[in-house]
């Protein structure tokens, strides 16, 4: 007996020691961090924003020089490709200090423990952003996983000259949108109002958001997946109906054929986001000055909301040895007026920081919209109406299933509701497979 007691005590002591060691190790870790912050820091930053190196130069020659924090830009491919790259680098323990991440990728990155909580270092950054934007970087918790950089409020783009030619009015509701598409088909069977494209899931996600969809929510310690909810069904049925009756085209966008259709007036409108001028400049160069922008059509005339398509943030990785320094840079990059002006000019981004949206950089319309002097005033008004978004830890899976299921449905002009259901089922199945708790 005494032997057993002794043995137990030994085990207990061992456990306590082990726990103590972990705690000490944890303390040691954070000590290292704060120590590193005071000395000179060299940070690497993975981003796809064009011209970012010039913006970072401002930091390296200004506030960065004072605080001895030097940032180096490593240009990357955008979107999903970068997420994979970040996760792979993180697995190898060789991640950069800072990464650009789209909002919908943040839960995936957080779930893989790739980005760090910078709530303590983020300071008063929160006050610079709209609540709906900021909430995407906290995932509804007290943590702060990134500083918002740019947003992509959705807007309706149309060929002003051709709308006049075909005697169309700018649709204010989706019903009017459908009527406009049908009327145009009657006027000229070769011309489409727009296309339903299944090759960019962000567009559909934004449209669902506008209708009030919340694809991922949490209930206690469980995820709830609402991809197949009533709001999204409404959106899917609407577009599926238009494709089925042939009122709009069903070919993917960003193809040479799509560019040509926009450039020659075979497609005369595009449901897009604030960054559309950049895309139109390259896709339809001959139509400069012929487009106009309007708010997105609404589900009922009393509503005034929009979704977002795209937009990204700056996150600090868990691999960074200088998290404090990295967080300081991220905050500067996305809240400092000088940095934001440079980002807008060099990178062509539409800033998430609300004050920057009406700054000097945005008094003139983009060159492609020289005919619409109030382009950015309209944009900032629309941005205020952005519906909140709810992302989950496997947006990538939902997005790839969207491309396949909706691509096939658009091609066959079949039921979009069934495609939506397979998107929901695949997403839930993947979460369960990974072991997430999913509420039915």
């Amino acid at each position: 007996m005494p032997n057993i007691t002794k043995h137990r005590r030994f085990v207990a002591t061992a456990v306590v020691v082990a726990l103590g060691a972990t705690t000490l190790a944890a303390c040691g870790g954070s000590d290292d961090d704060s120590e590193a912050q005071s000395g000179p820091a060299k940070l690497t930053y993975w981003t796809w924003t064009p011209g970012m190196d010039k913006v970072v130069d401002l930091w390296n020659k200004g506030p960065g020089k004072e605080q001895q924090i030097t940032v180096t830009v490593k240009k990357q491919a955008s979107g999903d490709t970068l997420v994979t790259k970040i996760l792979t680098a993180h697995k190898a323990g060789k991640g950069p200090d800072l990464v650009q991440a789209e909002y919908q990728a943040l839960p995936t990155l957080v779930s893989n423990d790739a980005v760090a909580d910078i709530a303590d270092e983020a300071g008063d950054a929160k006050s610079k952003f709209a609540d709906g934007v900021w909430q995407q970087t906290t995932l509804g918790s007290d943590a702060v996983y990134a500083i918002p950089q740019d947003i992509g409020p959705m807007m309706f783009y149309y060929r002003d000259d051709l709308f006049k030619k075909y005697d169309l009015t700018v649709p204010k509701t989706w019903d009017e949108f459908a009527e406009t598409a049908r009327k145009l088909k009657k006027e000229d069977a070769d011309v489409d109002l727009t296309t339903f494209s299944a090759n960019d899931s962000g567009l559909f996600a934004g449209l669902a958001q506008q209708a009030g969809a919340e694809w991922w929510t949490t209930e206690g310690q469980k995820w709830k997946v609402g991809i197949d909810d009533a709001a999204t069904q409404k959106v899917a049925d609407f577009w599926g109906g238009l494709v089925k009756e042939g009122a709009i085209d069903n070919q993917p966008m960003y193809t040479p054929a799509w560019n040509k259709a926009l450039n020659t007036g075979k497609q005369i409108a595009w449901v897009s986001a604030v960054w559309a001028p950049g895309t139109l400049t390259t896709a339809a160069p001959d139509t400069q000055g012929k487009w106009k922008v309007a708010p997105l059509p609404q589900w009922s005339s009393s509503e005034n909301t929009t979704g977002s398509w795209g937009g990204s943030s700056t996150a600090v990785t868990t691999d960074s040895k200088n998290k404090g320094a990295a967080a300081k840079f991220a905050a500067w990059l996305n809240t400092d007026p000088e940095a934001l002006t440079a980002l807008a000019k060099e990178g062509g981004i539409y800033p998430a920081a609300t004050t920057a949206q009406t700054s000097d950089a945005f008094t003139e319309p983009p060159a492609f919209f020289s005919n619409q002097a109030d382009f950015y005033t309209t944009a900032s008004e629309i941005a205020k109406t952005t519906a909140p978004s709810a992302w989950g830890p496997n947006v990538n899976v939902a997005y790839t299933t969207f491309k396949d299921a909706f691509g096939a449905a658009a091609k066959d002009k079949s039921d979009f509701g069934a495609a939506l259901k397979s998107m929901q089922d695949d997403t839930v199945a993947d979460m369960k497979k990974q072991g997430f708790e999913v509420a039915e």
Partner: protein, 311 residues
């Protein structure tokens, strides 16, 4: 005594010493990555609760779960069937053309042979992605000069990026790119046939067609087997052509071919474990099919040889 022992030791060890560098390289760059892929395919990620924050995600043993998932996934099977359909067009047409071109180039009457040889071979030098892009633009009705001509002539305009047309379109890219290479392989072995054989045949009064059918083709059979073998492997691993055409059409899904599914699992959905399992399955299927074919071809050759010897 000592010197003798050293000597015998040296002789025994010599082969191993010579093998050592190759073994190390084989282990490091072949066995180890394969082993790691197999190891990955037997694991999966397990998260707790919401899966947020550190330590919520860990790698656990999955057994054969990834394999059963992959094998019961209808998309993998559908992809395999699509690839078989594609291969049923590509392999016979490509090898048939290659053989015909090789025989024609080998004939005495051909003019400008070096130029023609180069012209047929040249597409092989064009990278697969570039070839797919090039053809993809030609397949798109709104930008293709072919469709422009067809429209002007009032001829029907087939949709090459959908349904059966898609198979023809994809096969065309592979045939365009691969015929030249296979032709060179067959042509080289035709050149190796000694002139006496032809002389004897001519003296016996064989026509050029008879020479081609009864002498040349049987004598280049080993090259035909080899090119067939390569073509099967290339077909099973088709990836870059459909991937390059994918953004142009809704008809090519992210899981069109089995290899594309592996790519989607790894880089679209971030699930390297399922991707590893898929890769292992494709590798095994490729091995079984290609070596099965080689064995069948070899045993047929042996039977042929022994029959010849008996005669």
């Amino acid at each position: 005594m000592t010197s003798a022992r050293r000597k015998s030791y040296g002789v025994k060890g010599a082969p191993y010493a010579f093998l050592f560098p190759a073994t190390i390289l084989f282990a490091l760059f072949f066995a180890l990555p394969i082993g790691y892929a197999v190891w990955l395919s037997l694991h999966k990620v397990q998260v707790k609760g919401l899966g947020l924050g550190s330590g919520a995600r860990q790698e656990v043993w999955a057994g054969v779960e990834n394999y059963t998932d992959a094998l019961t996934d209808s998309e993998l099977l559908a992809g395999a069937l699509r690839v078989l359909g594609y291969g049923a067009i590509v392999v016979p047409v490509m090898l048939g053309l290659a053989l015909v071109f090789a025989l024609m180039l080998d004939s005495d009457k051909v003019r400008l042979a070096p130029f023609t040889r180069l012209a047929i071979f040249l597409p092989y030098a064009v990278p697969g992605v570039v070839a797919a892009l090039l053809w993809g633009f030609l397949y798109l009705p709104d930008v293709s000069p072919f469709y422009f001509v067809l429209e002007r002539l009032g001829l029907p305009q087939p949709d090459l990026l959908d349904g059966g047309g898609l198979y023809a379109a994809l096969s065309n890219i592979a045939i365009w790119g691969g015929t030249g290479f296979n032709m060179i392989v067959i042509y080289t072995s035709l050149q190796a046939i000694p002139a006496e054989v032809y002389e004897a045949a001519k003296l016996d009064g064989a026509t050029p067609l008879q020479i081609a059918l009864k002498i040349k083709i049987p004598m280049v059979a080993p090259s035909l087997v080899l090119t067939f073998f390569f073509s099967i492997i290339a077909t099973l691993q088709v990836f870059s052509e459909p991937t390059t055409l994918k953004p142009l059409t809704n008809s090519v899904s992210t899981t069109w071919s089995p290899l594309m599914k592996v790519h989607r699992d790894a880089f679209g959905e971030g699930d390297i474990y399922s991707a590893a399992a898929g890769a292992v399955i494709i590798a095994v299927a490729t091995l079984v099919l290609s070596f099965g074919f080689l064995r069948a071809a070899n045993s047929r050759n042996k039977r042929y040889d022994s029959q010849g010897a008996a005669r």
